[in-house]
């Protein structure tokens, strides 16, 4: 057992953090929402190897596992990197050009109710994750309406009357594995938000003054920040453990992946909301970024699963384990 990042994994996260800091400031996410995805930047992201981490060397990948994908998505989530990053990562190796960023692939898990697909506006292909299979649909052939006021202004949303059908790419175990990866990478991005909002709130609390002292010197604020930190810390153990179990194709991976969504979803929503609260009136403005983390967390928390359904999955697994 060595349940901690190794040197290569640390380097992966710090390199990607620097990359996001340089090329993907939050302004890029804002602009992407308004004006569309910058394909040049998208290719830079692909050049960093983000989509191809788990592809074999022979396919131009890094030959790593879902563990490294999880670590990467934690950083991408913290950076509010725009575009269908989960879809393109899933599609690498399945759809020509996805891993190199030459084509952009959105992904959606088929559900009942209104179908809202993030990122389809900017995508060439759509991966549809069904219960029992994965299908690929060409974006140009899908009829949908662009939502004029998406909750998350950095993620364009297309409303479809129904899930379109397409070419079946995967079935059975391979399809299941892809669905779990989709859920877990989304949870990893949520974890990134939980961490980043803790940092942002802490930084703000150290500089913002009210009543002649920094607000971070008030115990109420300190304890709110401590709770944020603990939530992020426990969620990170959960998400990383699920990554390891998924990579090991452990029998407990389903419970672990569902558990990771419960933990990361709750941590991201709580921390993003508390970050807004700690920013006070400024947190309530459009101009500051605080609201963007909350809105992205809302979007991700219902993408490829949701917290309530995940809790139910864990309960079902718990009961199964007793029998």
């Amino acid at each position: 057992m060595h349940f901690d990042l190794d040197a290569g994994q640390r380097e992966l996260q710090s390199a990607l953090t620097r990359f996001c800091h340089d090329l993907f400031p939050v302004a890029v996410a804002r602009e992407s929402g308004e004006k569309g995805l910058d394909r040049g930047l998208w290719r830079r992201l692909a050049d960093m190897g983000v989509f191809a981490l788990a592809l074999p060397d022979s396919d131009g990948g890094a030959g790593l596992t879902v563990v490294e994908q999880v670590l990467a998505f934690e950083v991408l989530g913290a950076g509010l990197v725009p575009g269908p990053i989960v879809g393109s990562t899933l599609a690498a190796g399945l759809v020509e050009g996805a891993s190199t960023g030459d084509v952009v692939v959105a992904a959606v898990t088929a559900t009942d109710g209104p179908v809202l697909v993030p990122g389809l506006r900017d995508a060439d292909w759509l991966l549809v994750l069904h219960d029992d299979r994965v299908e690929l649909v060409e974006a140009a052939g899908i009829h949908g309406d662009l939502v004029s006021r998406p909750l998350d202004p950095t993620s364009p949303l297309t409303r479809l009357d129904a899930i379109p059908s397409g070419e079946v790419l995967l079935l059975g175990a391979a399809s299941d594995a892809l669905c779990r990866t989709a859920s877990l990478l989304t949870s990893a991005a949520l974890l990134g938000i939980a961490r980043r909002t803790t940092e942002l709130a802490t930084d703000y609390a150290k500089t913002r003054e009210q009543y002649g002292r920094t607000i971070g010197s008030f115990q109420a604020i300190k304890h709110m920040l401590a709770d944020m930190l603990a939530l992020a810390e426990v969620a990170s153990a959960s998400v990383h453990a699920a990554g390891v179990m998924l990579a090991d194709t452990s029998a407990e991976a389903e419970r672990a992946v569902a558990g990771a969504r419960v933990l990361a979803g709750k941590a991201a929503l709580h921390n993003a909301a508390t970050n807004v609260q700690i920013h006070g009136g400024m947190g309530f403005t459009w101009e500051l970024d605080a609201h963007l983390y909350l809105k992205r967390a809302r979007l991700l928390s219902v993408s490829h699963g949701n917290v309530d359904a995940a809790a139910e999955t864990v309960a079902t697994q718990l009961r199964g384990a007793l029998q």
């Binding site: 209104p114 949303l157 009210q210 609260q277 101009e287 609201h291």
Partner: protein
């Protein structure tokens, strides 16, 4: 202890209801809220109708042109307006709720004569220039400077959250006139005509994506000393006087809207699928809807108790701060519950075909306004702990 209307109150309610049933359907449809001038005209029309019917300045003394209603009548007034789907007060909010009552309490006869009629009949709009980017919870830390120059003050600084500044005629403005005095002692209250040179208003977009508020930049704006309300450096007291106008009714309109939200969410939960059936069939969701409804009922009861106690003076701190603190919490939980019930349908700020989701998603964001503005939840807890429970003051 009684919740029923007295005979007089029942009569007041009945007459009001008759009038509303008559007047509300005759109103034009409200304009796009982004068209601020059209909204101002609409609000003026509605205020004029109330004025003509004798309901303007419902809580103002009769001597100053108001109706002189009791707090209970005020509550009934707001309740019936909500029930009749009447428009809200709109851009008359600051004038009717804050500036007017302050002038009544602290203004000179000249100031009252000049300003009160326009507030009552809806022709004059006021905005509030209290908060600053550096002075939020700590309002008394404000830094906008006013330097006396003959019979004028020269004002420079920046105000934030000046709602309706874009269309206002006047601003109730707090400025620092003595930077060397303890912070509560160097503040002055001014009437600022918004047509004065040196004022720049920029729209301030909130996280709800709406330009409901503004930032106001003041660059050597000259304000006549005659526009001062109260004494120089006594502005903090003047501003605090406004608090004593609070009759427990401040949150009534939006509390009634919250009750409607939870009702609408219950309705939606019968139509939105969740797993194998409608969300309503999920016992956990149902209990949480019931819990929020029970809590809003309780807050409505607390409002009535606060109003009752307000009849003989001001609302007690314990009731006012408990209401604000608990209400903010309920709004956050209602918003979170709505987002869970809506699931992916909650990703849009607009309605979806056949689904009234927009108000719920907006509502989940509005919860932050409730827990941040008008004394954040953290400030309310300090107030309860120090002023009600008598615990030691934070330095």
């Amino acid at each position: 202890m009684e919740l029923k209307d007295s005979e007089a109150d029942a009569q007041f309610r009945k007459e009001l209801r008759v009038w509303l049933a008559d007047v509300v359907p005759s109103l034009p449809s409200p304009p796009d809220p982004r068209d601020r001038w059209a909204s101002r005209r609409f609000d003026e029309t509605w205020q004029r109708l109330q004025y003509d019917a004798g309901y303007a300045g419902i809580a103002w003394p009769k001597a100053h042109g108001g109706r002189g209603a009791t707090p209970t009548e005020h509550l009934i007034f707001l309740e019936e307006l909500a029930r009749a789907d009447a428009p809200d007060v709109g851009c008359g909010f600051v004038g009717q709720g804050h500036a007017g009552p302050t002038l009544i309490a602290e203004g000179s006869d000249e100031q009252r004569a000049e300003h009160l009629p326009g507030i009552l009949d809806g022709t004059k709009v006021w905005c509030q220039g209290f908060s600053e980017p550096g002075a939020g919870s700590d309002l008394a830390g404000l830094r906008t400077r006013a330097v006396r120059d003959g019979d004028e003050y020269v004002v420079t600084g920046q105000k934030i959250w000046t709602s309706f500044a874009q269309v206002a005629d006047y601003c109730e403005l707090l400025v620092r006139t003595d930077p060397d005095a303890p912070k509560h002692k160097g503040i002055t209250w001014l009437i600022l005509p918004m047509s004065s040179p040196g004022i720049e208003v920029r729209e301030l977009v909130t996280l709800q994506g709406e330009a409901e508020f503004a930032e106001t930049y003041l660059d050597e704006v000259r304000v006549p000393v005659a526009n001062r309300v109260g004494e120089e450096n006594d502005g903090w007291r003047v501003a605090m006087v406004t608090l004593s106008f609070e009759r427990g009714t401040a949150f009534v309109p939006e509390m009634l809207e919250s009750l409607r939200l939870v009702e609408d969410l219950a309705r939606l939960s019968e139509r939105l699928r969740r797993g194998r059936g409608p969300a309503w069939e999920d016992a956990g969701i149902r209990r949480e809807l019931g819990t929020v409804a029970a809590e809003l009922d309780a807050l409505w009861a607390l409002t009535k108790r606060n109003v009752t106690r307000g009849e003989s003076g001001t609302v007690p701190i314990v009731g006012g701060s408990s209401f604000k603190l608990y209400y903010a919490d309920v709004r956050h939980r209602l918003g979170d519950l709505a987002m869970r019930v809506l699931d992916q349908a909650g990703l849009v700020l607009e309605d979806l075909p056949d689904l009234t989701v927009g108000r719920h998603v907006e509502g989940s964001l509005h919860a932050f306004a409730v827990s941040i503005a008008a004394g954040s939840s953290q400030v309310q807890r300090n107030i309860l702990a120090e002023r009600v429970l008598g615990l030691p003051k934070e330095r």
